[in-house]
Subunit: 212 residues, 3 copies
């Protein structure tokens, strides 16, 4: 287990980068679909990548934000958006979207784990902590859709996304109570959230709709 | 008067519960109209019930939020949304909406009174305090409509809603200056706001439109 | 230079008033186009005039907000909106919009300068400070458009607006490093941002679009 944690710590930098990039690209594509200009593309990419964590930190009254502490990510985003506007074409959209599903699923797990962990660290009750995990993982995409003038897809695509993070969050809380180790809890949360999301993608799971 | 205040304190738990439930149900119905899934229904119900107070506390830099302090309400909301998705049908919508008008009007009064009182307690100037009362009462519904991709009905239905809370807020401030008792001011604010809203509903009052 | 700064300090009250009024009127017109009622008109005017600075202060965790410290502006806005609803007619819209372009451009410069200065004062890194300047100048209009259920025009009109503030912000940071004087940096930032925006309006500059 110790080895696994060690490996996990090294890996988490890679996952985090993948998650931020997946968020940024997802925002960038949404902005491109709407024909936004460079300013819009950057803003939507920023909101998708960092909006969830920023909203969580606003609610928990925590500073500094991730993008203030890791300023280089802002530069990466700026350059990415500039390159996209200059070189990206319609035919790149669908393959990019497909390639992003897996880092996005990993990112959901990591963001959820970070959110739960930060909320517990400032003494939030359990359900609130789990919801903060969900907010971290999901609200970047919600802000993206609100700015793009769409109903958030996380709220009406009937595919399990927030729910995977919700289950993963409870796994975090449960394991943390049982074992006392937040590193182990974090690792488990990432694995469960990612696993559920991967299963949902693979098996095409849907959330039961209204019977209206 | 003393007796009335005593009675009011006991009653306020009931009113508060009614207000939160009215908010949650109003969000739930809006989400159902848009065919959102469980995640969307819960989020919109949450925003409608707690969004106004949460925005006020963000602006006033106050913690904890109501839903962090009274965690059980999150469970109530979760279960309510689950039951709604499973059992609610189209034919329940209109009667639910009608039944919600009165707790909603009471909730508007209570939320406004709480908002003014909290803002004055942290030393806000009077007009700002009154506006914080309005924000508490009205912005839950505004957030609901923004997420549902509609222009907020509080901004364009030309019916007095925010204006009732605005008048009630000034009654609070006036009475509080005159008598020094914030409990009495609160009670009066609830009565006036609710009374105006009830009158507006009963007499079908409309705010004069643009003559364009 | 000293004289210029003195002159600038006196002038800045005038510019600030112009900027707030330009923001408020721009919000008011957007709300009128959507036929919002008095509550909607006031809210959208408020968001356009103060939303950018308020979002910046929320992110930087700074209080008091401008509209709490200068409460009289809320009264001005209230009266302005009331008068507009009573007396404004369709034929006033286009001329008002045109007349607002210049105070709006000046306001963009001043808001950007204030935003950068406040962010640097609390120790933000440079890129973050520049982005805070952009947020201060631009996000009032973004919030206006989100509430009016439109894609923000700052994101898709392909005209340089945010970009002028971005360049002006870097001029601030550069001059401030070089000369150590934040007053001079502020003045330069206003001049450059306004100059670029004026040029963009005059020469009809467009941001290159997607080649999709």
């Amino acid at each position: 287990m110790q080895e696994l944690l060690h490996w996990f710590q090294h890996l988490s930098v890679v996952i985090e980068s993948g998650a931020v990039l997946a968020g940024a690209l997802s925002g960038l594509l949404a902005a491109a679909h709407k024909r936004l200009d460079l300013v819009g593309v950057f803003t939507v990419a920023f909101l998708t990548a960092f909006g969830g964590g920023t909203l969580r930190d606003l609610l928990l009254d925590q500073r500094p934000f991730f993008w203030v502490e890791h300023q280089h990510w802002l530069w990466v985003l700026l350059i990415l958006c500039l390159l996209a506007v200059l070189f990206m074409r319609q035919r790149h959209f669908a393959p990019t979207e497909r390639a992003m599903q897996w880092p996005d699923a990993l990112g959901l797990g990591l963001f959820a784990a970070i959110g739960v962990s930060k909320a517990l660290a400032v003494g939030m009750p359990e359900l609130v902590a789990v919801l903060m995990g969900v907010v971290t993982g999901v609200f970047g995409g919600v802000l993206r859709d609100v700015v793009c003038n769409e109903i958030p897809s996380a709220f009406n695509d009937h595919k399990p996304y927030a729910i995977c993070a919700f289950v993963g969050g409870w796994v975090y809380v449960g394991w943390w109570h049982w074992s006392g180790s937040s590193e182990q809890a974090m690792l488990l949360c990432v694995v469960v959230t990612f696993g559920l999301r991967a299963l949902a993608l693979w098996r095409n799971w849907v959330v039961p709709p209204w019977k209206i």
